[in-house]
């Protein structure tokens, strides 16, 4: 377990006066010793590629309408622990699965839900999301920003950045985004909430590694000190000193970043794997990278390093051989989420004495869209304009199922009556509801979307 303290992180960054962009717009605010204005943490997760909800969150096990359910003849089900054959025989001669109905909940899950059933009492499921697109970039953007792409470009900030803008600007790392579709857009946004977008957690460790055969850290520190003086002197005679002042800050921040070995451990994949054996990262086949990201989130929150962490689970775009790995990919995803929740229950909150992280961590899981009810000629499923999402947060009601799909077509059905009349729930509603749970006016960030009060605790 990593034990670096918040104080050590603050100390590491203090002299550098924080991170700011070279071009003048600060990415990280000048580091303050004062606590962040919020004690909440946000974990935004996207299942990239469009998951097949018929195996988990919105299961289909009967042949109805367009539905071709998973069966023992078209699915690799041996590794799916919760797969139990259904009694009725399908027309292909195989058997579908028995659904899982956790006691005391309204949920009906497919077998790929894995160990997440252990946490059914705390989750909120939204089915029948009107994604209104079958394009990956558009689906990803719509899911996390609430707006479709406009000319190939996003129009609104993503949910992780909105949370960082609202609650994380005082944080050392407002938002660390590992392949999540993160965007900062709009004049109302604080530049400090700009996401630190990286491909993998390990890339940070490689950038922070230094050789020892030629020079020493003390010598490099001396260079940084000279560069800080140069930047400050140049700023003093510059018409626009902001960029040069930013340089001065960054040289100092870098010096302290490189001398803090604890901090480097948080970004080291090997250290994260070692620190979290319960995630069984080395045994995972499909979601190893995501599990490392989950371990990073745990350490980043434990050390009060990041306000928001956003990352992806990958591998859901199964146009061919859907049932070779879709179910197993989902099972690993939900198993990892289950371990993550169990860990959040164990880890103390860094600033609230007596509280656990799970009491102040808010998780939103989305996907691009879902997959067709029919199985195509390549034994896969293609894109389909329907979606599901998960919310796990003390600000939201557990054991809650909202929205539904047409049982014959798996298309979004009316979820309720909104201001514009009866209609299915859509991603903007979900995002508006998510931020509203923290007292934020959704219209500050989202042009559309209506708060669904039934979901709020």
């Amino acid at each position: 377990m990593m034990t670096s303290s918040r104080r050590s992180f603050l100390k590491a960054f203090l002299a550098g006066a924080g991170f700011s962009t070279m071009a003048g717009a600060p990415l990280f605010r000048a580091v303050a010793a004062e606590p962040a204005k919020s004690d909440e943490f946000f974990l935004l997760i996207h299942a990239l590629g469009g998951w097949d909800v018929t195996l988990s969150l919105d299961p289909r096990w009967e042949e109805k309408g367009l539905i071709d359910p998973a069966s023992t003849l078209n699915t690799t089900f041996g590794t799916i622990r919760k797969w139990q054959n259904d009694a009725a025989k399908l027309s292909d001669g195989g058997y579908s699965f028995q659904v899982i109905r956790p006691n005391g909940t309204p949920f009906t899950f497919g077998p790929a839900i894995g160990n997440l059933t252990d946490h059914a009492s705390r989750i909120c499921v939204v089915n029948g999301l009107a994604t209104n697109t079958v394009s990956h970039p558009d689906g990803q953007t719509f899911a996390v920003t609430g707006r479709h792409l406009n000319g190939g470009r996003p129009n609104q900030s993503s949910i992780d950045v909105c949370c960082a803008n609202e609650f994380g600007t005082e944080q050392l790392l407002p938002v660390v985004s590992v392949q999540y579709p993160s965007y900062l857009l709009g004049a109302q946004m604080d530049a400090r909430a700009r996401p630190l977008r990286i491909a993998t957690i390990g890339t940070m460790a490689q950038s922070l590694a230094r050789a020892t055969l030629y020079d020493t850290q003390a010598e490099r520190n001396a260079v940084n000190a000279v560069l800080t003086e140069e930047a400050n002197d140049l700023a003093a005679i510059s018409n626009d000193p902001s960029a040069l002042q930013g340089f001065g800050s960054q040289y100092g921040a870098l010096q302290n970043l490189l001398t803090n070995t604890n901090l480097q451990n948080v970004f080291s994949e090997s250290a994260l794997v070692a620190a979290h054996p319960e995630l069984n990262i080395s045994t995972l086949r499909y979601q190893r990278a995501a599990a490392v990201n989950a371990a990073f989130a745990l350490e980043a929150f434990r050390n009060n390093l990041a306000r928001c962490v956003s990352f992806i689970f990958n591998g859901f775009d199964t146009h061919a051989g859907n049932y070779t790995n879709q179910a197993a990919t989902q099972q690993e995803t939900f198993d990892t989420l289950a371990v993550l929740l169990a860990q959040l229950d164990q880890i103390p909150h860094p600033t609230r004495t007596g509280h656990k992280l799970s009491e102040h961590t808010h998780i939103l899981v989305t996907s691009d869209f879902c997959r067709t009810p029919q199985i195509n000629l390549q034994r896969g499923r293609d894109h389909y304009p329907n979606g599901s999402a998960l919310i796990i947060s003390p600000k939201f009601k557990g054991k809650t199922l909202y929205g539904k799909t047409d049982p014959l077509q798996l298309l979004p059905a009316n979820a309720g009556t909104f201001l514009d009349g009866p209609r299915p729930v859509a991603p903007p509603d979900l995002l508006a509801t998510f931020v509203s749970a923290f007292g934020v006016d959704p219209q500050k960030y989202f042009r559309e979307g209506e708060v669904i009060k039934e979901l709020l605790a």
Partner: protein, 225 residues
């Protein structure tokens, strides 16, 4: 030259001739500026210095260090001696701000300290490898001078001017800061500290010049335009 191009050329010449002012046309004078407006053009600075793109840095690095291709530079910087000076360009794509198609990550539009850290790592690797090259092979790439163990300020200045012109493109004497003296102190302090280091591949003087190189390749004037 084909006929259509000839005809096009003739047409353009004719058109230009038609547009030329006739000798009899009266000269028109521009209207005077309104009171209080001394100049017609606003020359006040509108934008501060900007960071050049990551590709430009890398291209500049490669040119300075011998006109290498990216793969050659990677091989040279990484070496086979287990020094861990460098990884691969791929490892740094995202942190240098470039798009990384392996992970479908877009260009990073703004910089951060992680990017500065990556440029330090790349700059240190190239400075160290260049020093190893220059002490063994001529023509020298970066340190185009001898490196005596004993050096005074007067002997330091012309040598510093060589590397200053290489990285920042103008004489050190014209620097708007007290740069030569500042780097002279850096050289002295580094060389003195390095004399106590055991197991280094650099002599104290070489470590001093390497530190000067690190400082110039990461200088704000190198990064901004």
């Amino acid at each position: 030259m084909n006929l259509s191009r000839v005809l096009l050329g003739i047409s353009i010449v004719a058109l230009l001739a038609g547009c030329s002012k006739s000798a009899s046309e009266p000269e028109s004078q521009p209207a005077p500026l309104p009171p209080g407006h001394g100049v017609a053009q606003d020359t006040t600075p509108k934008e501060g210095p900007r960071l050049i793109t990551a590709e430009s840095y890398i291209r500049t690095y490669l040119t300075l260090f011998g006109g290498l291709s990216p793969m050659q530079a990677q091989l040279e910087a990484r070496g086979s001696d287990g020094s861990k000076l460098f990884d691969t360009w791929r490892d740094y794509l995202g942190t240098m701000g470039m798009p990384d198609y392996r992970y479908d990550t877009p260009r990073v539009s703004q910089t951060n300290t992680l990017m500065v850290a990556t440029f330090e790592r790349a700059g240190v690797a190239l400075c160290d490898r260049a020093l190893e090259h220059d002490r063994a092979v001529k023509p020298r790439l970066i340190y185009d001078f001898d490196m005596p163990a004993k050096l005074d300020a007067a002997a330091f200045a012309p040598r510093f001017d060589v590397v200053h012109r290489t990285f920042l493109n103008y004489p050190a004497q014209l620097a708007p800061t007290d740069r030569t003296n500042r780097f002279w102190k850096l050289y002295q302090d580094t060389a003195a500290a390095h004399a106590k280091v055991t197991g280094s591949r650099f002599s104290p003087a070489e470590a001093g010049w390497a530190a000067v190189c690190y400082g110039l390749i990461r200088h704000p004037e190198f990064h901004l335009y």
